[in-house]
Amino acid sequence: MTTLLSRPPDLVQPVPAAAPDAPRPRRSRRWIGTLATPVVVFVFSSLLTFGLGALSPSNPAAAVLGETATPADIARMNHEFGLDRPLPVQYLDWLFSALQGDLGRSYFTTIPVADSIFAALPVDLALAGLAVLLAVLIGGAAGIAAALRQGSRLDRAVTAVASGLGTLPPFVLGIGLIVIFAVLLKALPAGGYVPLEQGAGAWLRFAILPALALSLDIAASIARQLRTSLVGQLGENYVTGAVVRGLGARRVLFRHALRNAIGPALTVLGMGVPMVLGGAVVTEKIFNLPGLAQLTLQASSQHDIPLIQGTLLVTVTVVLICNTLVNVAVLRLTPQGRR
């Protein structure tokens, strides 16, 4: 539920995968839109991110230099960080450097921001990957099972658990998992992290609890979404017809009904990525993971503007890439998209 933060699963429901541009353009144009829109959105997002830093009322030089600062020191430092230039120049310089992989240096540690971020990013990516996988497996299985046995005790249980998960404050779930698996069962470590390069088994031991904490509420929304649309599809005439014509139930489910029902669930998944990255703050804090969100939290408490801007920009870029991939998947997988 960490993910749930503020976008409960149902909120996602009425939102279409792509912006509902009417009338529906031809297929080639939709492909161009799917691939070109993110570029425009990236520029918008980068403006937002940069603007946030530019709005900051505090003088970073004074904050960094501490008690020994003199006006000359502050001027020198402002010059060193290029803060004495006009804002549009600063923005363009920042953006173009960022595109070349240079996000500036932290005000405090003078460590290149890109170095810090790319040390932290793999943690989030690996974790988000595992979380999404778990969400699809758990949510998919629960959703399909509930839809096939509509109205059964199982169905009601899935619905109840899925609804319940969406109401739980994210950190409660994280600490609950620690109490159960680390303190009571002593089966898994309470926190910490081992990079994937040091062995998948070791990594999994540390990653499984936080990934579970991150995945459960996306799993819940996938289950609910899939159940609703699958119930709808299973009631359609073509399914009844296919069953009457003697097609196997499994074939009908996976080749037809699921395919038609998967669009909204995929969209939920696409929106799940920013939710995972957003929710990761709380999870990273509880499980003491060296991820991007911890970096943002620390940067924020220090007013380290380049680090704040850098982490936001990279997060936004990751989200955009994931959204684009999901949109492409929706276009390719669902019949509506292929038509």
Binding site: L5, S56, T167, L297, L320
Partner: protein, 278 residues
């Protein structure tokens, strides 16, 4: 996208299911406490007694005391107002920034529409808590700043549901007919569109409020936007978690309270939305 029109909620379908009665009852209590919580609290929620710190439930303190010996029951009652106000604040910002641009995108031409859609896409790429942290990092660590940040991120949601609900109407025949008969845009908006958009927005607002409650508590847990000693639900929960060793049961109470309120909001939204409560 066809499901969108089908999912358009309608207040006429509203039924008094048991879950709805439960939800309304819970929300009525929460609303009452939001206004009168401080008045009905048995103790001063700020009154400290360090000698009584971290005690279990007793007749005088039904939910025990916190790390400063304050009555947890009174703190939860008195904290309802701030908690609810913060959630509503962010939803209000989301509504203000989402609904009108959502409608504007339908009627102000392709250029405005395109710009607004891209802006919304951009805002939607921002991860909630990370953005709220960044905003408070830059603009100051207050509950208002944090909730405005959350509200800004709610805006795309309201924008899109408003737009989706309105979109079906722009192509509805009676609206076209009204346009043909020369009705003004404002009149169409007011009489035809508004009545259809409001229920959709109401569902979204109910759920967004639930989401905002969770977001406030998460931010409080991270030490963002908190204003002690004033109590909030999330604040009580976060501080109780620091004393798990002393009182492992204590966080259950504020957590249950938050869950109950969020569940009630979700149940209410489900009831308004057709098919959602199945």
């Amino acid at each position: 996208m066809s499901t969108l029109t089908a999912a358009r909620p309608s207040l006429r379908r509203f039924r008094w299911l048991p879950s709805v009665r439960f939800a309304v009852a819970v929300l009525a209590v929460v609303a009452f406490l939001a206004v009168f919580g401080g008045a009905v609290a048995p103790h001063d929620p700020l009154l400290q007694d360090p000698d009584l710190a971290l005690r279990g439930p007793s007749p005088a303190h039904p939910f025990g005391t916190d790390y400063l010996g304050r009555d947890v029951f009174s703190r939860l009652l008195a904290g309802t107002g701030t908690t609810v106000a913060a959630a509503l604040q962010s939803v209000g910002v989301g509504l203000a920034l989402g609904v009108l641009p959502g409608l504007a995108s339908l009627w102000l031409g392709r250029g405005v529409e395109w710009m607004l859609l891209r802006a919304v896409d951009a805002v939607m790429t921002l991860p909630f808590i990370v953005f709220a942290i960044a905003v408070t990092g830059v603009l100051g660590n207050g509950l208002t700043q944090a909730m405005v940040a959350i509200g800004v991120l709610f805006a795309p949601l309201f924008f899109r549901v408003t737009r989706a609900a309105g979109l079906s109407l722009t192509r509805a025949q009676y609206v076209e007919a009204a346009e043909l008969f020369g009705a003004s845009r404002w009149r169409i908006l007011r009489t035809h569109v508004w009545g259809k958009v409001v229920p959709t927005v109401a569902v979204t607002a109910a759920q967004a409020t639930g989401g905002a409650l969770l977001a406030v508590s998460s931010l409080t847990f991270l030490g963002i936007g908190v204003q002690p000693p004033a109590p909030t639900w999330g604040g009580v929960l976060a501080s109780e978690l620091g004393f798990l060793a002393q009182q492992p049961w204590a966080p259950v109470i504020p957590a249950a309270l938050i869950m109950l309120a969020v569940a009630a909001l979700n149940a209410l939204a489900d009831a308004i939305r057709p098919g959602g409560a199945a």
